[in-house]
């Protein structure tokens, strides 16, 4: 029972990323998120802003001997069912779109990972309000 109670009170973390899919900060953030989850912290939001919206794309292709950071983030999000959001304004500017936006803007393909949502900064504000702590991985 005590263990249950402790796990209920584990702190939640909101994570914001700004770096692109090749940025060291995106890799560091991945390691940080894995470590936090291993220690039973909850991640209440992964918010992809600025160039980090690239991490929401299913299109990055890497040589086999190189780490595909976007794919690893997407796998982590799916595995732990993390609430993940790409800022819609940042994403559209950088060509990361879902089928709705593709249709709206007359594009013939879409690349947003299905476990990641497109939303506005209000979602980040909400996550920031609700979390115990937050961390921004800048470029």
């Amino acid at each position: 029972m005590r263990g249950f109670f402790l796990s209920m009170t584990k702190q939640s973390i909101a994570i914001m990323l700004l770096g692109n899919a090749q940025a060291n900060s995106s890799r560091t953030a991945l390691h940080y998120a894995r470590a936090a989850l291993q220690q039973n912290y909850t991640i209440n939001c992964v918010f992809l802003y600025h160039d980090a919206v690239q991490l929401a794309s299913t299109y990055p292709i890497c040589p086999q001997d190189e780490q595909n950071i976007a794919a690893e983030w997407q796998a982590l999000i799916v595995q732990h069912q993390l609430p993940a959001v790409a800022c819609i304004a940042s994403a559209l500017k950088r060509g990361v779109i879902n089928s709705t936006e593709a249709k709206r803007h007359g594009k013939d393909a879409n690349n947003l990972h299905p476990a990641i949502e497109l939303a506005g900064l209000g979602t980040w504000l909400e996550a920031l309000t609700e979390c115990h702590q937050h961390i921004v991985f800048a470029e």
């Binding site: 914001m16 900064l121 920031l128 937050h134």
Partner: protein, 117 residues
């Protein structure tokens, strides 16, 4: 909620300065109490007489001029960063209060959330 945004990006190096400011303005639009602290090359965002037309990028000073409309009244700039760049508050396009390290520490300590961009 008291949100302190630390803005460190030079105005036209990529789009982060603009997107960081957009975040602060969005928070203010949601009625959060927003404070802006300009550090490092971020203080170049505040310079008077910016003309970004040759770069075909929106002038960030124009957006900064609008912060009052969003009820953002607390704008701080690090004194040390100004000095190192040979600038004074007179060189800035909006009224910003020059603050020393001790005050910066207090701002960070007193904020409910610090968003460091």
């Amino acid at each position: 909620m008291n949100c302190l945004f630390i803005l460190r990006q030079s105005p036209y190096h990529g789009s982060l300065a603009r997107e960081a400011l957009d975040m602060a303005l969005a928070f203010a639009a949601f009625d959060e109490n927003v404070q802006l602290l300009f550090l490092d090359d971020g203080i170049f965002q505040l310079l008077k007489d910016q003309d970004s037309s040759a770069l075909v990028i929106k002038n960030i000073a124009k957006s900064l001029a609008a912060v009052e409309i969003y009820d953002i009244n607390e704008i701080y700039v690090a004194e040390e960063c100004l000095k190192r760049r040979g600038l004074r508050t007179d060189d800035l396009s909006i009224a910003a209060q020059a603050v020393d390290t001790r005050i910066i520490q207090a701002l960070i300590a007193d904020a409910d959330k610090v968003v460091n961009l």
